[in-house]
Amino acid sequence: MEIRRQGDCLEISELDPFLAELLRQIPESTNPDGAETAQQRLFSSPAPASEREMCAEWKLYVEPELRRLFQTATETVGADLQQLNGCTKPFANCTLRIPTKNADAWLNALNQARLVIAAKYNFNEAELCDHYRSPIGSRRDLGLFQVNFYGFLQEFILHELKM
């Protein structure tokens, strides 16, 4: 896999089918449904529990706005990922071009996905810092690989935004 800036795009080329599939899974991975801890992490409390009125108002007025924001980011990423469906040969490497104007949406969706996966598998700090863990022997290992791979993409996007 190669990743570089190409004009108004961030280009990820030589994407093998496995990594392409992980990218395709970003929108689905942002869905916290069925995992209470993931829901709580995406929509965390704005204040200590003693501030009951504030927390209730937040749920009523702010949370729907946050849901819309997260949904919009996920949809933008989903639309960019449609390019991967254009790969003609089933096991060929492919290329993804992310318009820099969508960089914020990507950062947000990647973050949602990382937080939801980490919450679902209850990864601890030591596991999250173990970037050389291998091989992938279980669905949980794959989840950790996803978190790290998405983190790598975030780092690259952040690096490019600074330039």
Partner: protein
């Protein structure tokens, strides 16, 4: 016609009211809490964007969050503090609004 001195003594009540309102609203702070998933570089960028901090200061707060578990990013009136917390939640940071003890 009013002399400048007369103008100055006709308006002091407004200033007193403003101070009283601010005093009621002052004890709030925006606190960001540690999170093992969010990247350090991402947290730094968010602090720069939301609070307009220079990079060095944003990194200082990020390291405080990382090493001490929390950092107070801003304190002041509740309404503005709520807005900051909302923005931070939009970036998926763990942030709370707390009364200053």
């Amino acid at each position: 016609m009013h002399s400048p001195f007369q103008l100055a003594v006709e308006n002091p009540a407004i200033e007193q009211e403003t101070r009283a309102a601010e005093a009621l609203d002052l004890p709030w702070q925006v606190v960001v809490h540690n999170d093992p998933v969010n990247l350090m570089s991402y947290v730094t960028m968010v602090f720069q964007r939301v609070f307009g901090l220079p990079r060095e200061q944003a990194e200082k707060h990020m390291l405080e969050v990382h090493q001490q578990g929390r950092s107070i990013l801003w304190s002041g009136m509740r309404e503005r503090a709520e807005l900051y917390v909302q923005q931070l939640h939009g970036y998926l940071l763990l942030a709370t609004l707390e009364r200053t003890s």
